[in-house]
């Protein structure tokens, strides 16, 4: 039984079949659509379906899991029925972090799902004024998509550079340049105070008291793991669903819950590259790579393997291909090998305690392979030690 029918869930189903699992498979998903891909939602505001033929699964789409008895692996659905399974894969991903304050009835959006993308796309008309709150990867891509469609865009960021925390000051300055060159009004060091308007958004007020007239606003303040349905399940929740390094879900007492694994954005687990500290990743490739390990470990609990994927992320801004590997956010030193804003090229290595922990390139993906090899070798060494 698999809960979550997006990327991680169906990919785990496919891995189970590839590994020879021949029994019943049920895939439960809250959205009433077959699986689709999220990255194109923010880049081109386009819906791209994911193909899932040949899984021989029973799909229960438009059905939300609302509770779990972890000991019996019994999932309660929103139609009141109970589903039990010999094994359970939790792949419920994440949701957009909501704005805690008041939000006008119309004009303010978040972007996580197909419905969100279609609602936003319908409003992105040329000449309209958009304020994006948060200049992370998602906020940056939305700003870029809106510029391409001829909107006036203001991008508000709390840090002094976009992605300062994730990629450091050098890459942050580089990205700030991309936004400004595209005509985005980038306001760094500023946070949202309030949305103005009751029926429809009229303006956005920032923490310095400045007011930006606006027709539309997108809140892009990150994601929160979708674990609300697991409250009271006896599983360990801690800014995500706590797993061990083998992607086995942990109980509140710290031991693995038999027959339950988790995959994708929902997982919070100790990563060897982070020195065993807990991380969560909202990365496409992470969901795909974890699926294979989780499927193996569910089928072969006595030969459960650690997950050793090298984190890998991409983002596209105004045609600049940003590629990141490892965990640059944890670096204490950045070495810039090349920075050529005119040619829109960047290559930077990220180190922690003098050791490579990540790398970022812009329009220089060819340069990533050696870094990736070094990170991969390091991870394999840690795990087999």
């Amino acid at each position: 039984m698999i809960v979550g029918a997006s990327l991680a869930g169906p990919r785990t189903a496919a891995a189970l079949r590839e590994l020879g699992y021949d029994g019943e498979l049920t895939i439960i998903g809250a959205e009433p659509y077959p699986p689709y891909d999220r990255p194109p939602l923010s880049k081109e505001l386009r819906i791209v379906d994911l193909p899932y033929d040949g899984l021989r699964a029973t799909w229960r789409l438009g059905r939300r899991a609302v509770g779990l008895d972890a000991g019996r692996r019994a999932v309660r659905l929103d139609d009141g029925t109970l589903q039990t399974g010999d094994g359970l894969v939790i792949a419920t991903g994440a949701c957009a972090r909501p704005w805690p304050g008041r939000v006008p009835a119309r004009g303010v959006f978040t972007l996580r799902s197909r419905d969100d993308a279609l609602a936003l796309r319908a409003e992105l008309a040329p000449g309209r004024r958009l304020v994006v709150i948060g200049a992370g990867f998602l906020g940056g891509e939305i700003a870029a998509a809106a510029r391409r469609r001829g909107l006036t865009v203001t991008l508000v960021e709390a840090a002094d550079q976009p992605l300062r925390g994730a990629l450091g000051a050098e890459a942050g300055a580089f990205l700030a340049g991309l936004h400004r060159d595209a005509g985005v009004d980038l306001r760094t060091g500023r946070t949202l105070r309030a949305f103005q308007g009751t029926d429809r958004l009229t303006a956005v007020t920032l923490d310095d008291g400045s007011t930006i007239p606006a027709d539309l606003s997108v809140i892009a303040l990150g994601a929160v793991a979708a674990t609300e349905w697991l409250a009271g399940s006896g599983l360990l929740l801690d800014s995500g669903l706590r797993c061990d390094e083998r992607l086995r879900v942990l109980r509140a007492d710290g031991g693995p819950a038999p027959g339950i694994v988790a995959v994708g954005d929902v997982v919070r687990w100790p990563h060897p590259l982070a020195g065993g500290n807990l991380i969560s990743l909202g990365h496409w490739t992470n969901a795909v790579e974890q699926a294979a390990t989780a499927a193996h470990n569910l089928l072969h609990p006595h030969d459960a393997r650690p997950y050793t994927g090298v984190p890998s992320f991409w983002s596209d801004l105004y045609g600049a291909k940003i590629r990141s590997i490892g965990l640059p956010a944890l670096a204490d030193e950045v070495r810039v090998a090349e920075s050529d804003p005119a040619a829109r090229r960047l290559e930077a290595a990220y180190l922690r305690d003098g050791r490579l922990i990540g790398a970022v390139t812009v329009n220089r993906v060819a340069r990533l392979a050696p870094y990736r090899r070094e990170l991969h070798a390091g991870l394999t060494a840690v795990v087999t030690r």
Binding site: K321, A366, H376
Partner: protein, 65 residues
């Protein structure tokens, strides 16, 4: 085994290069180059490359030995 990459779809994500470096590589301008008939010994890596490509540009066809 026969590999084809739809270069119209490819966005230079590099996942195929990471998964199967003997088969896929970039030139200096980030254009993908690949071996279209890799040896069967590399089939697991090539399958992995196809699975990891975010835009599903890589297709693999098994040919008779």
């Amino acid at each position: 085994m026969r590999v084809t990459v739809d270069l119209g779809l490819c966005e230079s994500h590099g996942q195929c290069v990471f998964a199967a470096p003997e088969v896929f590589a970039f030139d200096d301008d980030d254009n993908l180059r690949y071996e279209s008939e890799p040896p069967a010994a590399l089939s697991a890596q090539v399958e992995q490359a196809a699975a990891l490509c975010p835009v599903r540009a890589v297709s693999v066809r098994r040919t008779a030995p």
